[in-house]
Amino acid sequence: MECPVCIETFKHGDFNEISEHFTLMSNDNDSEHISWLNNNISKTKLEKNELSKLFKRFYSCNDIKLWIINKFIEQFRGERPHPFILMMQDYNPRILKGYSFEHYFFLKQWVRSCSSIIASTDIDEIQNYEIENILSEYYGHDNIKPHIELLLEMAESYDIKREDIYNSRPLPKTEMAIKRWQVMSKAKTAVEMMAAMHSLELIANNDLRSYGAKYDYFNLKMLESSDVPDAVKSFLMEGYKADSHHSIDALDIINKYNSDIEGIQDSYLESAFVFSKYLEARIERGEIIEDKQQ
């Protein structure tokens, strides 16, 4: 068992140890651990035994696919969605410009993470899944442009040159997330790493409302609006279609090879923790671009 915030490791299934860790960190006024407790466990300070019970409940799981979907919805597309999701409910060129920059670096890491999964398994189903994912995200297939190309075309529709993106550096929040995914891809099993990466594709899943999501990835009216450039529509539409089956297919594979549920949960939570920061970087980059233009 690992701390989702700082990846400190504890004995398998030991909710007392992780509770003690969070108690110690909150006694030190550590903002990341406190904020994680507030959002996931309780805003009220609890004695170790009580806290341990709530941790046990948080991790309790009969179906790992549904557990991940529920946790994801709660953090990103539920009653209290991520600010990035809220901002995507209106057409907001600033956010999409920021998205173009930061997501380029995300995708560069994405393909490395997928490759690490291929390298760490001999299960055909997993390898084939990842190869198909790399093709659609990074290389293209059957005359369909890869996601990374659609991203750059979206940027160009806002007069951002590809070279400006190639020559930029990711913002610190994106960089921090990329570093964590690089560390994870060396330490995790193929199935754990699949949970870490492909669960994130739930962000754009168009069927997530049937699982309880309260928000779409973006305001679907944008696809019909004449204010929105075609390249932006193509980018959003492609992700919307592809990420839906990517995320659910991956969760089915994870469910099938789920020999270590706790390892999968750890891996998902550690990745979701930095993904939330990364989504903030998209907003922050939009703000930087706008400030420069003024």
């Binding site: 006024n29 904020s35 209290r80 907003i283």
Partner: protein
Amino acid sequence: MRLLKTNNNDGCALCNATWGEYYREIDNEKMLFCCNICADIFENMVNEVKKRTGWEKIDYIELHGNYSSGRNCTAFSNGKRFSYYFRTYSDGKIMEFKNID
């Protein structure tokens, strides 16, 4: 002397959580927060309110909301009131701040 209070009485002056115990002096009031980030957010917000209103001191702030939606607030000073909305990044940086009529 008038001291700055908020409607969060259980714990942290910004988020009301009872984890953590971090103090910072703001407007002559030693205020309790859960962590340095909540203290930074609160302090930046107080400074922004003073900048926009020209007030020297604030008596009371009513805060409603959270990280996701941002916060709708009303600040009171000497019988005057000022309503605003603000939202921050998780590291405390201000993302949006606007006056509400």
